[in-house]
Subunit: 334 residues, 2 copies
DNA sequence: AATTGTATTGTAAGTGCTTACAGGGTTATG
DNA sequence: CATAACCCTGTAAGCACTTACAATACAATT
């Protein structure tokens, strides 16, 4: 069952069938309808390989994500995939695992599939520490569009969609300070572009309030609620006091809440807790955790829309920024 | 950059290059090495489309899942994808969304991409209520292997990997009854194959203990913790009493826990709660929720391994069953 | 009626790979 | 030394589609 069968039955040439297939306007309505009818009768489906060979594209984009079991990224994947499909594109997914050991290798594997673009979901792909590590991304961007969701790299062909993390954290810290909190502990997971922005927002808010930035209040921690809890327990045991905890990820906030339960701290009075991403996790606990909604659905949709613009030859800014929303729940009273 | 460039530079024919590419043994080591060298120098990557055209396969399998933001399915996708990649296969993902309105349409869309097999992750694809709804899957299975993760359909070409849900729920109910619980509320989300098995396990355990199956203790509920909580509140208000809640999904158990907090019930003394899937959610709450580990990693790996056997022409049972583990945490004392 | 232009259709040359078949070279056998 | 056997390699015909270019048909214009 191929284009020849259709052309024979419809009494036209294969070129005409192909034109119908590709929505070429140079086909009379009469012919087009006849061909479409025949296709329907025959249940014809074009062969994607032959098509890909001719067009040198398979209308497929590669999505890389570090960890699909992170509820935040899982949502991103869902929305990206849905939006791409709505635009007639398939996605081939590649989860590198949270270690990201072979991210470069995976990246090239996807490239070898002749994807039309790459989407890197999750901030961890672009590490701040090691600029040279990102060269392979920059090189690839010379050949095909690379979209970063929640990451940023300044290079031609790379388009970022990011949430204004600096502003979000600045606002959270600002409101906590305004409500009288004086010792805000800050927990974060990674040295990514977005991670550094968040931290800077926290620091800038302190400075704006004329408060010192105290390094002993800033801690890095694995993205694991158990570790976060243990870290806080040991910090508290070592004599550190704090009346609020800001975290770069909801899972850390869940850990902080467990710490609070463990130490029988009343929430939010004795200890305020703020998460980040406003994921399902922040709704599971009791009390529910106030968190920052980073608009992953919007980010995903904008990413795909930008990509479509790039495909269409349109101008797209290298960075699109959207504002986050603080969602007050039960672990703060701001 | 194509096979001709390589053949020219290596001074052999394209057929020889192709043979090297495909691991054909009829190539002398000398020639093979020279060709490999040239490929390396030129940085040659075979064109997947042309390859697909010739072989009529692109070493790609379609994965459909209802809702990638369900942590359970997100894990399944991760493991499936990883395992497929390890076997040299790509996956193209398609999340239908929890409504599953267009599942058939999506299914056919993936088929039109000429995938080599389909994997349906999540029990919701195979509804028990409407047998005729599954015909399109059975028809497709005549052309390519269809793998069901946590679903079951008895038809040639369809291979299921399921967790022994009946046994798992039987054991949970049995242990609850043994520990003196007498009114076990049962909450479930869907009329799927696995959903029905779970419920039957619960019922059979009651019967085995000489207890009646009371319909007023069995309720269907959307997979949403808020709805579960509200349902329990209204049931309690209507005078129903219960000393344990079994759920077909962790999210419902989280809702049950919220209900318990709301009504100040002591846990596990006054009310025991058991979740299902042992997902991250069950670790987020305080107390942590006892749950059934349904071994999604094993299920995923077995699914892919079975698929590889099918590809290789081997014999694979229509159904592979693995046992679940009850994970005791803080909402039970069994 | 001849000419021009336009809309539609067909022809044929790619696109990069696989593989059946044929052929050439080398070695073993009679 | 001729012949068969075998191993390796090359030729060429697909695979199902796209598309530049050529050709045709038909209407409009002079």
């Amino acid at each position: 069952m191929n284009i020849y069968d259709v052309s024979a039955k419809a009494g036209v040439s294969i070129a005409t069938v192909s034109r119908v297939l590709n929505g070429n306007p140079n086909v009379s309505d009469k012919t087009r309808n006849r061909v479409l009818e025949v296709m329907d009768e025959l249940g014809y489906t074009p062969n994607v390989f032959a098509r890909g060979l001719g067009l040198n594209t398979m209308k497929t984009v590669g999505i890389m994500c570090s960890d699909s079991s992170d509820p935040y990224l899982a949502h991103a994947i869902y929305y990206l995939e849905r939006e791409l499909r709505a635009n007639g594109y398939d996605s081939i997914l590649c989860c590198t695992g949270s270690e990201l050991v072979n991210k470069r290798q995976y990246f090239e594997l996807l490239l070898s599939k002749r994807v039309d673009a790459m989407i890197l979901a999750g901030s961890k792909f672009v590490e701040i520490d090691s600029a040279e590590d990102n060269n392979y991304i920059i090189e690839a961007a010379a050949d095909l569009p690379v979209m970063l969701v929640n990451g940023y790299l300044d290079a031609p062909g790379i388009y970022s969609t990011v949430c204004d993390d600096h502003d979000a954290m600045y606002q959270v810290a600002h409101r906590l300070l305004q409500s009288g909190r004086r010792q805000i502990l800050y927990l974060y997971t990674s040295h990514s572009y977005s991670g550094m922005n968040k931290l800077q927002g926290y620091k800038d808010a302190l400075t704006a309030h004329g408060m010192p930035v105290r390094q002993e209040l800033i801690h890095r921690c694995a993205k694991d609620l158990g570790e976060a809890k243990e870290l806080l327990l040991s910090l508290a045991d070592s004599g550190l006091t704090f009346d609020a905890v800001m975290t770069s990820d909801d899972s850390l906030a869940v850990g902080a809440l467990k710490f609070a339960h463990c130490r029988k701290k009343s929430i939010p009075e004795e200890l305020s807790i703020v998460g980040y991403n406003n994921s399902m996790l922040s709704y599971c606990t009791d009390p529910e955790i106030s968190s920052v909604d980073t608009k992953i659905e919007s980010l995903s949709i904008i990413t795909v829309q930008s990509l479509m613009k790039v495909f269409g030859g349109g101008q797209v800014p290298g960075k699109s920024v959207i504002k986050a929303d603080f969602v007050q729940k039960q672990t703060t009273d701001l």
